[in-house]
Subunit: 310 residues, 2 copies
Amino acid sequence: MCVLGLGLIGGSILRALGRTGRPAYGWNRSAAAVDDAGAAGFDASSDLAATLRRAEEGGHVVVVAVPVPALDGVLAAVAEHAPNAWLTDAVSVKGDVARRVAAAGLTGRYAGGHPMAGTAFSGWEATDAALFDGATWVVTADDETPADAWRLAASVGLDCGAAIVPAGSTEHDAAVARISHSVHVVAEAVAITAELDPAAKQLALSLAASSFRDVTRVAGTAPSLVNAMCEANAPALLDALDDTIAELRAARAELAERGTVGAITERGYAARRRYENARRTPFSPVLDGAGWQRALREAGHAGGVVTALD
Amino acid sequence: MCVLGLGLIGGSILRALGRTGRPAYGWNRSAAAVDDAGAAGFDASSDLAATLRRAEEGGHVVVVAVPVPALDGVLAAVAEHAPNAWLTDAVSVKGDVARRVAAAGLTGRYAGGHPMAGTAFSGWEATDAALFDGATWVVTADDETPADAWRLAASVGLDCGAAIVPAGSTEHDAAVARISHSVHVVAEAVAITAELDPAAKQLALSLAASSFRDVTRVAGTAPSLVNAMCEANAPALLDALDDTIAELRAARAELAERGTVGAITERGYAARRRYENARRTPFSPVLDGAGWQRALREAGHAGGVVTALD
């Protein structure tokens, strides 16, 4: 396996694969991370063309784990130096990446990936071989996804200790807009709101207890990381923000007009209970026949996860 | 000490006082909690008049820890049976309680209290002697607050293991609207939003990871508890919700018009860091002289806490 980008996610993939004994090597643009990875015993290079030729000649899977702004350049290099390698990625949006992959002419070699794990930290120094243990890892099954690409992308996630959720790129982006991207924006708004009453600003910070701490935790994520994932998923995020704003406006109106917030608390409590009670069910994916991608999407949507491949 | 109401907060106060060896007894309306408290070795009764006469005759401090809807009845009983006892409470809003205390003619015996601790559970079975250890506990210092009432209310919190933050009732309510009440409403909205796209609803629940889990945790609080605290603090909560909605609308507009959320992430990150870096400084309160209440409010607003009384 060939991992491009050795930040938190790519570096942790390299470490997790190393833990299983799967041969793996990496590339990073900055020499500092390459040196750090090498010092930690990993096979890493800052020569992208040479790294990709090695993948092409060895028939290795290429895993792209670079930030969105670096994607186009890396994909062009893949198209030039490793056009026959199977390709996946670890970027947190999927529709935008699929369009860039198509623009590079690589759709026939590609299945998208998104490990649902992370921390507030970044860079090689934050990498962790156990980052994906027990996490879910989306592998996209769009109508044009090749079966071999899906199987190999899923095997990367499984080797890293995750369970695979098949999903379409569009529904993935809609879902993560609602359970991650908009959640970050809301956390920022809550953190800001605490300080907006000048007469109570210091007191609010002094009195803040566990509810405030937990709701604003992700506001401690580096702004550049939040910006990158939100900007790459703007249409779905706009829809999600519109829904959250509408809910808050309805609650505000109920409180102003009828003196209660009973409607939103009842619905919110029920939604949280459904989340707590959601269960994932392992299933064996069938990767051939007409419409196998649709069948996988439906299985993933219904709570199915892949925990092993034949 | 005499504790009225043996739910999560009142029952935990009884347990915490018992741990220090301070003589304490309780009353609860329902006989079941009284029986459970008695079986656990606590002195509890379901006879409110007799309990209050005992407090009046013994010169004990009365701590009111009943839900807001039960307050007026309990305060009327205090005025009838224990008009000379010193009085405090453990209700999560302060302006509303102060008005009810004034209506009962008890302002001259009263300082309000609010322990900033809790769990998503309720009732005697959820009580915990350590619930307030290391927590903050607001004791109100309004212009009409008697010094002896403040000292005794603070001693209740200190005996329970908390640090005391003096505050005015109005600024307390403004602060908790922003760090607790609106935070609950926002958590409900986020939990609901996850399910509002029918095409991605199940997938969202399946993919939700730590950011969603933490932000929606307080949506698991019983709706009746959230409703009660929000309804009793409606004016300050409306202001807080207006600010959160305005922040989200501004972020939405920035994303739609300029393709980024860079303004809210930068401000939200800075606000979260200020919260993380907020420090509390112990000070010795002076409870006499003109304007001592104002001096206490200013000290509390600047991050001062009382950790011991002379």
